[in-house]
Amino acid sequence: MEVFKHNQPIIGFMSNAKKVGTFSILMIIASIVLIATKGLNYGIDFAGGTIVQVKYEGKAPIHKVREALSKVKSYEGATVTFFGSDSEIAIRTKSTTKSVDSDVSDKMRKILDGTGKFKVRGVDMVGPAVGDELRTQGLMAMVLSIIGILIYISFRFEWRFALASVMALIHDVTIATGALALTQIDVNLPILAAILTILGYSLNDTVIVFDRIRDGIRTIKSTNLGDVIDESVTRTLSRTTLTSLTTFFVVLTLYLFGGEALKGFSFTLLVGVVVGTYSSIFVASPILMWLNFSIEEFRANEAKKAKREKEKEKMRAMYEHGTM
């Protein structure tokens, strides 16, 4: 089967770059506004708090549970929602307990006594100190991986490639975070993992396009960067879409079948895969152009590098032959 024909006409990505760029900038602004106004809904991993997961035999009497909880002062502001099915509920509260031997689950069992036959299936409690620590660690992880990748790409390509890919990456992460603010999904550790995966995934996609551009610079005669980019991106279009599709499939199955615990995680990834694919096709390369990347300069550098290598080799050969 072939969806993308071999003689596929070259698509003029660069001539549409302004339109796409405007769209991206609007999306980013919208995301930032969402994050600033609605804010992220930090889950207990980062904000501290307790989630108790309770399963009832039959339908969960959610109103009774709310009523029972409202009578207890320390659980003021607790929210009760269905969790996965209508027999299961999640009770979220900001309060935490430090005591080891009598904790929230024990208290919860007492409070819910009389609301029906139930089982406490899981309890997650994160104290405020740990939440702060996890947040710092999460940020650290993000910054460090961006720096690591920047260094690697600069080393393998050129600094403009690195900068362009990181800008595309920030574009992706910002929009994914905007989606989190929009949906008010609980931002917990798995979401952070998802964001970091997007980071890796988005780069993966971008790097493959850039690799083709680097290839194109060497093989395509034109010195017009726009033409080279258009041709290279067109050539990788099938790969980019196909891989995104397989990844999208599996993330979608994760979202649909992976259970409640992975919902937020897989949702974030779904957004990330879509945005990442879009950005590697439409966003990363125009940035390269706007950064005044010059083909001649790149070729000259490559030639210089090659020349140096050759000279080294010559010297080595001479040395080995004893002529030096």
Partner: protein
């Protein structure tokens, strides 16, 4: 078939290796190394504890107080007003002639202590070094004590480890019921601080009208009875001896009533102190205090030698057993507090396994079908590599004894989607070359060459993100980063080297007139 080449041989070995070493994990057999399931999959209790080190400092002062008392009394020095207040142990020497002797005794037996003296008034406090050591010791001791207790309780493979400077990680798999969990938590939390304390008989009749502050001014403390809520005792706050001098604790039964009790034995120093004290205090009462509750306070009828003491209380056999465990494992120098707790019931764990396995299978089948539909035989080859990749991933995790968590499962699912990426890139390159009219051999070799740098650079960048995630992640997230990283590395072997070898091996079979079957592309008939 073509001749075997080194690539396909390596791939075959890797495949067999993967299958062989993932069998123990897949069949959950008893022998062989296998993957441990994380607490979120098999159910269990995860807690991050912190230690209230300030209490350890306080009890350190108390024990200094006890020693001071013992040393001074031993040398017949008369003193008064021995008390602990504001991080200071203070006392007054009554006979001024004793002062040089006291100075000498203190200098000899109390190192790392700051001594301030005003006339005959002495005040001792902990030096900074001593305080630091005490805090560190309290944490290390809590780790050891909790570990010993959980082992004595007979739990399967609990983990107790220090995390960072001042936290303790406790992970207990396989906790079945809420009751069991509660019992375990109670066992962990039990300070098991045993003290023998003298009842202040001079003021004992005033105990019900006295405030705690007033009691403190006499160097006393008011403690409640364990079973009778209203009953209170006035006790001399510096204990005669404490649980550190205990050698053994066992559950026993009272002869007449058959009620459970806890017997314990003191070491030689403890026995001596205990014997001396009881000898001196005939007719008075002595209280056995556990975690600031008085269990018994019998009258001393005669000197008690041998160092055997028993605690009665209204124990259930289970409680008596847990108290004995706690006493044997030693007391916690300072109480522990929960900073983070994650408890997953076994049914929730089972649900998590089920859901993530379904996602894995569905995702896997979708990708496999897609690859065959789109690439024909080339897709089949990519799928063989994908299967090998999964086995290899499981085998490496099994051999490393790694833990598979729920996010780890997600990582495997994601690997399935991303591992075929390399083959997509390669196949696209091969197709391109075939369209351009290259021979099959050249298209394959050139295709692999052209695709290599892209795959390499892309994988390295993803790997950088995963490694950082592994280094900075905690618990389940580490599991995600781990499966992702191993998946990427394994895919380099299977998807690049392995499929290349298979192509070379099959090369003579590949019919250039059946490119649709082999590579899923339309033949451009008439072209070269």
């Amino acid at each position: 078939m073509g001749t075997l080449n080194y690539r396909v041989v390596i791939f075959a070995f890797a495949f067999i290796f993967g299958v062989v070493f993932s069998i123990p994990s897949l069949t959950q057999s008893d022998s062989g190394k296998k993957i441990t399931l994380g607490l979120d999959l098999q159910g269990g209790l995860h807690m991050l504890l912190s230690v209230k080190t300030e209490v350890a400092l306080e009890s350190k002062l108390k024990s200094i107080g006890t020693s001071v008392k013992y040393v001074l009394e031993n040398d017949d020095i008369v003193f008064d007003d021995l008390k602990i207040d504001n991080d200071l142990v203070s006392f007054e020497v009554l006979d001024e002639d004793d002062i040089p002797k006291v100075d000498k005794l203190l200098a000899k037996d109390f190192k790392d202590i700051i001594l301030t003296k005003k006339g005959s008034h002495y005040a001792l406090s902990l030096s900074q070094k001593m305080a630091k050591e005490t805090e560190k010791h309290a944490i290390d001791q809590a780790v050891d004590t909790i570990r010993t207790r959980l082992n004595m309780f007979g739990l399967a493979e609990p983990t107790v480890a220090k995390q960072g400077e001042d936290k303790i990680l406790v992970e207990i798999p396989g906790v079945k019921t809420a009751q069991e969990e509660q019992r375990i938590r109670a066992l962990i939390a039990k300070a098991a601080h045993l003290q023998m304390m003298a009842v202040d008989e001079d003021r004992a009749n005033r105990v019900y009208s006295m405030t705690q502050a007033e009691a403190k001014s006499f160097g006393d403390i008011i403690l409640p009875d364990v079973s009778e809520k209203d009953k209170k005792y006035l006790l001399s706050s510096i204990p005669i001896l404490d649980g550190s001098m205990l050698t053994d604790a066992k559950v026993g039964y009272e002869r007449k009533t058959n009620r459970p009790l806890v017997n314990f034995t003191l070491d030689s120093q403890g026995s001596k102190i205990f014997g001396d004290f009881t000898g001196k205090s005939v007719g008075k009462r002595m209280a056995v205090v556990l975690d600031d509750e008085v269990y018994t306070a019998p009258n001393i009828v005669q000197r008690i030698g041998g160092g055997r003491v028993q605690i009665t209380g209204n124990f259930t056999p289970q409680e008596a057993n847990d108290v004995a465990i706690a006493l044997r494992s030693g007391s916690l120098l300072a109480p522990v507090q929960v900073e983070e707790k994650r408890s997953v019931g076994p049914s929730l764990g089972a649900d998590n396994i089920k859901a993530s396995s379904i996602a894995l299978v569905v995702g896997f089948v979708l990708v496999i079908i897609f690859m065959v539909l789109y690439y024909g035989m080339a897709g089949v080859i990519a799928n063989v590599a994908l299967v090998a990749n999964l086995f290899l991933l499981l085998a490496i995790m099994s051999l490393a004894g790694a833990t598979l968590t729920l996010p780890g499962m997600a990582g495997i699912v994601l690997t399935v989607g991303m591992a075929v990426d390399a083959n997509v890139i390669i196949n696209e390159r091969i197709r391109e070359l075939l369209h351009e009219g290259s021979s099959i051999t050249k298209a394959i070799e050139q295709g692999y060459n052209n695709a290599f740098t892209a795959i390499w650079d892309a994988n390295v960048t993803t790997l950088i993100a995963s490694v950082v995630l592994f280094a900075y992640g905690t618990g389940p997230i580490k599991g995600f980063a781990l499966t992702m990283s191993i998946g990427i590395l394994a895919s380099m072997l299977t998807a690049i080297l392995g499929t290349h070898g298979i192509y070379q091996w099959l090369l003579p079979k590949i019919d250039k007139n059946r490119l649709n079957y082999w590579f899923g592309i339309k033949q451009n008939k008439g072209a070269k």
